[in-house]
């Protein structure tokens, strides 16, 4: 899990990271898919998690009281991987170059609009839609990046925020003919794509005829597992995105991006143009956001302007920092964590709390419910906020650093024995 030493990490973690750095063995064997053995292992772990997510996320039997903590249903699993892609892309910009974009949701939204227009006009097949989303988001991020990267630090953040809010406002009002304004866009039975129209009602996206909503269910005793086509397509995209992210992190380009974060003056005097590198990172991360936006439309064929609202941009920042900015796994963890809380913790209500604390005497039960209640249901934002503060203060390297510390502690105990 140690992908990169973090400047604020404690010494032990840093040493562990340095010891395992890929450069330590420059002439190592060929590895798999151009990855070192360590990176290949990480890739394998993520692949296993994605493939077996329907099992892993459904650990509790349907009939048990804990079934509400199961997250293995298609809609939520799709969200896990799509936001994972979004955060992976964001991390290439923010984690490596340190440029904090506060408007990345704009690229997600633009990707979504592009994908739905591709479905309305060309075909309900998801592949052209997703490709179209990536291209359009890439072009839009080129324009936004070219202008915003004239400044750095807080001014850069504000410029990107302004662009995103502008996009939101335009999509909401002026551009209604293209964006459907407040109601957004859906695929209707009046739409006539070039290749095959929707059969009836609201059109569903498909991959060569197989609908995204198609699922196979597997019942094992009290457990019910759902395998959804849409999820596996999004999952494949996540694996591709993760793989590309590893390659970028380990490439000369990746070193240049970290150099941008470290010292632009030295870069200039070393004959390099930092802005070109930053702009490339910006466009790459914009394209990742476009991919996520396109996948959202593929899973659920509708889009509205709220997808570009500033809170959506803020969410990806929080995901990346919570998981661990500048690490490979961090953004995926952060995205999963936040989406889990948003969908699971928010569903716990007062009745469920009463059930949990039913074993306490009556008075105590009410007190406990009153104490816990603000942190659950609609109060999940409060829990998230507190967690975020704790992580930023005590684990600046995010959840990944937490994992590294625990691993380091185990390793130390082992050597002592």
């Amino acid at each position: 899990m140690t992908d990169q030493s973090h400047s604020t990490a404690p010494l032990s973690v840093q040493q562990a990271a340095t010891r395992n750095a890929p450069l330590a063995r420059p002439r190592a064997g060929r590895g798999v898919l151009g990855l070192t053995r360590r990176d290949a292992t990480l890739m394998l772990v993520v692949t296993v998690l994605v493939v077996f997510a329907p099992f892993i996320l459904n650990p509790f039997p349907e009939t048990s009281a804990l079934a509400q903590f199961n997250a293995g249903y298609p809609d939520l699993m799709q969200r896990f991987v799509i936001f994972g892609i979004f955060a992976i892309g964001f991390n290439i910009l923010f984690g490596l170059t340190g440029y904090l974009s506060f408007g990345h949701a704009a690229f997600l939204g633009v990707g979504s609009y592009a994908a739905i227009w591709s479905m309305k006009l060309i075909t309900l097949n998801v592949i052209p839609g997703i490709l179209f989303a990536i291209i359009v988001a890439g072009l839009f991020s080129l324009v936004v990046g070219f202008i915003s990267l004239r400044r750095s630090g807080i001014y850069f953040s504000i410029l990107t925020l302004a662009f995103a809010q502008m996009s939101y406002a335009l999509a909401y009002s002026v551009l209604t003919p293209i964006t459907g304004g407040e109601t957004g866009l859906q695929i209707k039975n009046t739409d006539t794509p070039l290749f095959g129209g929707p059969e009836s009602g609201i059109g569903r996206a498909n991959l060569f005829g197989a609908e995204m909503g198609n699922s196979t269910e597997l019942e094992l005793g009290n457990w019910l597992f759902t395998f959804n086509l849409g999820y596996y397509i999004a999952g494949a995209a996540l694996l591709l995105a993760f793989y590309l992210s590893i390659r970028i992190f380990r490439s000369p380009f990746g070193i240049m991006l970290r150099a941008v974060k470290s010292n632009q003056q030295r870069m200039n005097y070393t004959g390099l143009m930092p802005k070109r590198y930053t702009l490339s990172a910006f466009v790459i991360s914009g394209m990742f956001a476009g991919l996520a936006g396109g996948l959202m439309v593929a899973m659920d064929t509708q889009v509205g302007p709220e997808r570009m609202f500033w809170t959506a941009s803020g969410e990806v920042v929080i995901m990346t920092i919570l998981g661990g900015a500048g690490t490979l796994l961090g953004p995926v963890l952060g995205a999963g964590f936040i989406k889990y809380m948003e969908n699971i913790i928010s569903k716990i209500n007062k009745d469920i709390l009463h059930q949990w604390f039913a074993f306490l005497p009556d008075g105590m039960e009410d007190v406990m419910v009153a104490v816990v209640y603000p942190f659950i249901g609609k109060g999940w934002h409060l829990t998230l906020g507190i967690m975020f503060m704790l992580v930023v203060i005590f684990l600046p390297g995010g959840l990944v650093e937490g994992g590294q510390r625990i691993a380091a502690k185990f390793r130390r105990n082992k050597t002592q024995d």
Binding site: P252, I255, T270, L272
Partner: protein, 252 residues
């Protein structure tokens, strides 16, 4: 034969004439020192040479080409490397990564989207970086984070980063400023070795006369933005004008 030739350079900051009609020739394969009291315009001159400042008038020609109006990265690609007063390195990166960046810049130019090649497969670049680290006795520190090293090691690393690009001219801005005695001696030794083994042309700005006289083969004295004298170190030592500009001030 002058590799760098400065002619009639003027630079004014508001009412202050920072550089007034500066003429300076740095001959190939020499170490040329530029000395002068505080505010003499040494740093302004250096910033003009690397493209950070554009002079009001005059010309700066490096190897037959004008450097004026070019950006710092273009001037570096022409073959001028600069060592800063406080070492400018990539503090968050490892020593090896610090070394690889100038190697890539030399090979690939100002920008290349090499996002899918693996660094560990760049064996030519790694070998080159290792050879250079070996030359400055830092090979054992290759996996250290640059920020965790001593000032002297940071200076060595910065010089190694400049040298691995095989520049035609190395500019040094007070390379021993703020250093401990031992680090200063080490840096002088390193510079002497580089000068001797590589025959590299150097232009050095320095306050410490000990450093200047142990390295320089030619010295230009600047005072109030104008060159006072240019001569060999032996002649500069006893020059009355220099004593006036330097010692006179020191006695006040």
């Amino acid at each position: 034969m002058a590799i760098l030739s400065v002619k009639g350079v003027n630079k004014r900051f508001g009412g202050l004439q920072a550089l007034g009609d500066v003429n300076l020739d740095v001959a190939e394969n020499t170490c040329h020192a530029i000395i002068g009291p505080n505010g003499a315009g040494k740093s302004t001159l250096l910033n003009v040479l690397v493209g950070k400042l554009i002079p009001d008038s005059g010309s700066v020609v490096f190897d037959g080409q004008s450097v004026l109006g070019r950006k710092p990265h273009e001037i570096n690609q022409m073959g001028i490397s600069r060592v800063f007063q406080t070492p400018e390195i990539f503090a968050d990166l490892t020593v090896m990564e610090n070394m690889l960046i100038p190697c890539f810049a030399k090979r690939d130019g100002a920008f290349r989207l090499h996002a899918f090649e693996a660094v560990r497969r760049e064996s030519d670049m790694i070998e080159r970086a290792e050879a250079m680290l070996d030359e400055v006795n830092m090979l054992d520190k290759r996996e250290m984070t640059a920020s965790s090293m001593s000032r002297g090691d940071k200076r060595r690393l910065e010089m190694a980063m400049c040298l691995v690009q095989e520049p035609r001219l190395l500019l040094l801005d007070e390379p021993t400023a703020g250093m401990a005695r031992a680090d200063t001696e080490n840096t002088i030794e390193l510079l002497k070795t580089i000068r001797r083994d590589r025959g590299l042309t150097m232009a050095i700005i320095e306050h410490d006369m000990n450093v200047v006289f142990s390295l320089a083969e030619r010295i230009t004295v600047l005072a109030q933005g104008t060159p006072l004298v240019e001569d060999t170190p032996e002649n500069i030592k006893g020059h009355p004008k220099v004593r006036e500009a330097y010692l006179g001030e020191a006695q006040v």
